[in-house]
Symmetry: C2
Subunit: 359 residues, 2 copies
């Protein structure tokens, strides 16, 4: 059994990691030879041609992805040769913030106010409708806070239009949320579904910095699982799905979807009985899924831009797990992550504080 992975970043690398444990081979379709997954998986260099896609498809049994920003035409081509999971419908929707929010609304999942924007007049009018508190975002290719601007003054509106006006846009009402959580769930080919306990996320400058789990709130957990179940059915979804929510006054508001393993789920690697990478592989191979749970309160800290000294980290916080993706340092780039566990949340918060001081 060989799983083809579109992409060669750290998510592909961690998927390959889990695949070998299961005796499953991988082949990553990479744009460059030195991508992280090339260190632990065979890869095929993507020259952009259809021949290359065909070769890739013929070399594997099933195809999945680590990044949703793949041309739908390419996925359709691949799907004619091999099963492609999580499925084209889910990928197409998650590529576009407008389609995502339309889907949420259509399925009765609460989300923020939103309006598609086609010209500056529409932008100004919608911004006023949204109480002059809004975010202008590109519909596509936004990640880690890229392609979005906060609009608080009329001047912000003009600047934002000048910057982003050439792209398809969506205006979203700004929700002064209390905090953010994500739900990681998985559905296998046979339709079995499991959900990871909610993960509490903290962003900084649009990039995920810290995730802590389990975030124990029975009501929010049930609500989030119900929303994800609705999406699973709607998309006939297969694999891991990550669903980010804002929480305001004890209510969930859908923010965005990632039809793949997700940064906030990395803490399942060390803190849970089963990782999101295993869940994804078991799902696409149609193997039975175990109910995920955390052994201990667990935290994940992203290492961004530069890597701290391993010796110092491991000395300061014995037992911390240090993940180094093997990437070249660059400002704002995710180079690795740390995970740590503690017997209770108070001790965990103390550990996080100590680690933050040396990051």
């Amino acid at each position: 059994m060989k799983v083809g992975i579109l992409g060669g970043g750290q998510l592909a690398q961690l998927l390959a990691h889990a695949a070998y444990e299961l005796g499953v081979e991988t082949l990553c379709l990479c744009e460059r030879k030195d991508e992280p997954a090339s260190r632990n998986s065979p890869m095929l260099l993507d020259d952009g041609t259809t021949e290359c896609l065909k070769e890739f498809a013929h070399k594997v049994n099933v195809i999945t992805l680590e990044n949703e920003n793949i041309a739908i035409a390419r996925l359709q081509f691949l799907a004619a040769h091999r099963p492609v999971y999580p499925g084209i419908k889910a990928v197409a929707v998650s590529q576009d913030r407008l389609f995502e929010k339309q889907t949420f609304t259509e399925l009765g999942i609460p989300t923020v106010l939103f309006k598609d924007i086609n010209n500056e007049t529409e932008l100004l009018s919608a911004w006023q409708d949204f109480q002059q508190q809004a975010l202008l975002k590109t519909r596509r290719f936004g990640y880690d806070g890229k392609g979005q601007l906060r609009l608080q003054t009329q001047e912000d509106v003009q600047i934002a239009w000048a910057k982003l006006g050439t792209q398809p846009l969506i205006l979203e009402g700004f929700l002064p949320f209390d905090f953010e959580v994500s739900l990681i769930g998985a559905r296998n080919v046979s339709g079995q579904t499991v959900f990871v306990p909610l993960i509490h996320n903290t962003q900084h400058a649009g990039i995920l910095r810290t995730s802590i789990a389990p975030f124990l709130d029975r009501h929010l957990q049930e609500q989030a699982e119900q929303y994800m179940q609705t999406l699973f059915t709607h998309f006939d979804y297969v694999g891991v799905l990550a669903f980010e929510f804002f929480v305001k006054d004890g209510k969930l508001y859908a923010n965005e979807l990632a039809p793949r393993v997700h940064n906030s789920g990395h803490l399942t690697l060390d803190g849970a009985n089963i990782s999101q990478f295993h869940l994804h592989l078991l799902s696409i191979l149609d193997l039975p899924l175990a109910a995920p749970r955390f052994n201990y309160p667990t935290a994940m800290l992203n290492l961004i831009g530069s890597l701290p000294d391993k010796k110092e980290v491991l000395k300061t916080s014995p037992g911390v797990r240090y993940y180094d993706y093997g990437k070249e340092p660059r400002a704002g780039r995710k180079l690795g992550h740390l995970s740590c566990m503690a017997k209770d949340e108070k001790t965990l918060r103390h550990k996080i504080k100590t680690l933050r001081e040396i990051l």
Copy 2:
């Protein structure tokens, strides 16, 4: 940083697995192209020449091994170019049952009765001294019960001599032990040591079948750690050391050493806060070690000779972790292992029983 691993079996594979997480590269020196580690690590094909060893040494920063049966001359050659851990002295001793037992005795570590055997007369005489209850073993290359015969009658003695008499031999008094445990410990280059809680092992036909941990016995734990600490100092040891003991009437008797990660330690992968593979890498890279502990009672079941159906296993026992080393099935061959955890030992024993029924 690149770690060279002598060998390409499942232990090398699982070491490479842990190395990538730490951003450390590996290069495995393999005898065949299709060894398990070739799936997730670059490898160099070992043609047996000194040139090949030299090339290997020059391509890596530090060298370690997954199997102690390596010609000492080769290790000495490598050690002239790069640090070789755990060190030649420890490897030389652990290659030979006689040297092992002599070392135990010299260091005051209780072990079974033993006598080196050079001819049939010595064998018969020693067997009588040992109350006619003994095991004749080859001094070298014995593993998984290979190269050893139980001697209960005079006829056994004659047959055993006829079978093994051409090799260097040791006669060991048969100890009707109550059970077997192993201690996994690690010592880094700076001399920091940590120990995993004792692991309870069950063999069948000389091959490890089931390991369960933590085996909680404060007295035995302290005693075992003290013995291992003595060995660490004696050998100026670096890396993971596995130490197998017989337990009889609450006392430990040293059985054998493995100067490397060990099959009985596989359950640290899923059940503990840190795995033996991480501990080994951190040790040889001189990084700080965390104190290992088990999150839950954990069991490891070896998959020998043939692999059970993944779907059936995962359905019968949700949450079990299935490791498939990707090896060709063959009678008596270790092809993979299962690990499972439970909230208490009673539940764990029930899980093991259920799994045993489908193996």
